[in-house]
Symmetry: C2
Subunit: 360 residues, 2 copies
């Protein structure tokens, strides 16, 4: 997508290294980092310089290529995969990308491994962009269906966290249909959940502002009320892992919005590229939920009076804080899973209908 007229992906190869946009500094500073060693890639994932399930997978794949460039041995491959796999526990795209890299590389001779690793990592990146384009097209169909009623104002979409182009290599998952609809002239407006504690809603607002999509930033508490008021037509979120039964694991707070959508008859969609489906898990209860550092809850980032990035402590000493990073929305609350193959019912049959090759 464009940033001030310049086309960007969120990750790209630069010869013997790869570059990322440091998302821990957005929206306050736009800063590109060159990742030259596997360990820096692992740190970028762990510290959320990159985030979003698809981008985490792509970053891990590129980091394996860096490792192979340095040492193409079996031992180094095993170490890289294992080291990267534990950087974050919840998004299954991480494991998916690493297993794909290992699968391709283990039968390749050491002399070719670095080249093949880069090829495969770049293929993963390019495929992600294609998956998201397909998600955009299928999601647009769903948005158009909601516009068939006699509506006066714009279609109101609510989203939680950031599942835009920054969360992917490019294009976004939940925002892919929004961008496509906007580009095709559909009148829409996006309610952007702040998404405490990491405030990824700021990334969504930043993206939407740059693309000219009308939007309003709201506290995470507001969505239920807006749905009761009838000012939300559809909720679309991304996903970090979807299980065979259609349960959706996504950023903490997603479940609350799904409950409110269900209670108010508002369609609730998760945009889910194939690599986000964990075919090894039957249901969401088995997904490991990452507990991140309480410091993320205790502090908040922003701009000071001079417009410089700064951080404040909001919770004074004397109180503990807890920071579960994801929750699980049961399939019964999900209207549909927008995949690259079409919109699936959030159920075993729905998913297997689109991915018949996954039947046991």
């Amino acid at each position: 997508m464009n940033v001030d007229g310049v086309p960007y992906r969120s990750i790209w190869r630069q010869g013997r290294s790869f570059a990322i946009i440091d998302q821990s500094r957005l929206p306050f500073e736009f800063h590109v980092i060159d990742i030259t060693h596997m360990e820096s890639g692992a740190r970028a994932i762990r510290d959320m310089q990159v985030r979003g399930a698809p981008l985490i997978g792509a970053t891990a794949a590129c980091s394996v290529a860096l490792a192979m460039q340095e040492d193409p041995s079996d031992r180094a491959l095993g170490h890289a995969v294992e080291h990267l796999a534990v950087t974050r526990p919840t998004a299954v795209n991480l494991r998916w990308a690493l297993e794909r890299m290992r699968g391709v590389l283990q039968s390749v001779s050491a002399t070719d491994r670095a080249d093949i690793a880069w090829q495969e990592a770049e293929r993963i990146c390019d495929e992600d962009v294609q998956l998201n384009q397909a998600i955009g097209r299928h999601g647009l169909t769903a948005l158009r269906a909601l516009c068939n009623q006699d509506r006066a104002g714009p279609l109101n979409v609510l989203t939680h966290c950031n599942a835009g182009w920054l969360a992917t290599v490019d294009g976004g998952t939940a925002l892919a249909p929004v961008y496509l609809a906007h580009d095709q002239g559909m009148a829409l407006h996006v309610w952007v959940d702040e998404t405490r504690p990491r405030n990824q809603g700021l990334l969504t607002a930043w993206e939407l502002a740059r693309h000219g999509v009308p939007h309003t930033f709201i506290a995470d508490n507001a969505g239920g009320h807006l749905m009761r008021q009838g000012t939300v037509d559809v909720v679309i979120v991304g996903a970090d892992r979807v299980t065979r039964n259609g349960d959706v694991c996504n950023k903490i707070g997603t479940y609350l919005k799904a409950l409110a959508a269900y209670d108010n008859g508002v369609p609730f969609y998760a945009a889910v590229p194939g690599p986000t489906v964990d075919w090894t898990l039957e249901c969401g209860d088995d997904i490991p939920i990452e507990e991140r550092d309480a410091a993320e809850v205790i502090h908040v980032r922003g701009l000071d009076d001079a417009g410089a990035p700064a951080q404040l402590r909001i919770l004074p000493e004397g109180s503990a804080a807890s920071n579960p990073a994801f929750d699980v929305t049961p399939a019964r609350l999900v209207s549909g899973l927008i995949t690259e193959r079409g919109i699936a019912q959030a159920s075993r049959d729905g998913l297997l209908g689109l991915y018949p090759e996954r039947r046991a």
Copy 2:
């Protein structure tokens, strides 16, 4: 309650003026303000130097006394009541307190009005403390009932916003049973919702820390996940207005927690002193929901590296924000209303059972 060993109410008379704790500076600074003119009282309510439905009512009553001290005419009384009534739209305690003051004062001669106004305002304050003590006792019964199971750890209470002693004259509503239980040796732990955008959870954490009640501060997004995990035994919130049918209007985000509690079989109580019931409204859809300044969403307060209070802008220019301050939780999601007369079913019959004098 005690602050560093000194007993405080949140509001008290000081001769010809009254004092409040400036809650817009808590928990970062403890600062007492002397309110000497009715207009300063109105501003304190509007700018949320005082907040919490019961305390808003008490502050309005004391502000009427200030006005009568200056000018005890009928015209001044009418002006004071009308001016104060529009400071905030949602909490019905404001209107209740003002109507009570007007009812008492309009039959009193101008020479006695200031004295009678102070008497009545102080009576409203003292009664609030008594109401909250009774709410504490009835709420404790509900908490004890939940402890009758064979439980290993403490009773886990989740609360949203601040309905502690700071939200009242003293004692609190939702936190009254918590304080009483803790004082009687019951093992409990409170999950404290941050309550964006004004972060009143910081007031709750501040209160609980000062009273030695174990607690954990969480993002507003976390509660649903915690309930799914089975780590919340009961939700207790305050209320800004309850209608005849038992609908509960409270701080924005309450509805989302009620949905999650209902979905997980967790009891959800609202602590409701009599003056918070609006007997003139049939259901919550008729309650005016305050839309506050978007600046409250865009900025956040905290402590800088030197420990000094400071403010940051979190949402850069280029995005709008919206700030609805309350939502309505339908009675069907409410397990009970903890009143000073006992625990009522959240229904017309439940409320009228405890307040038979309100039958039409």
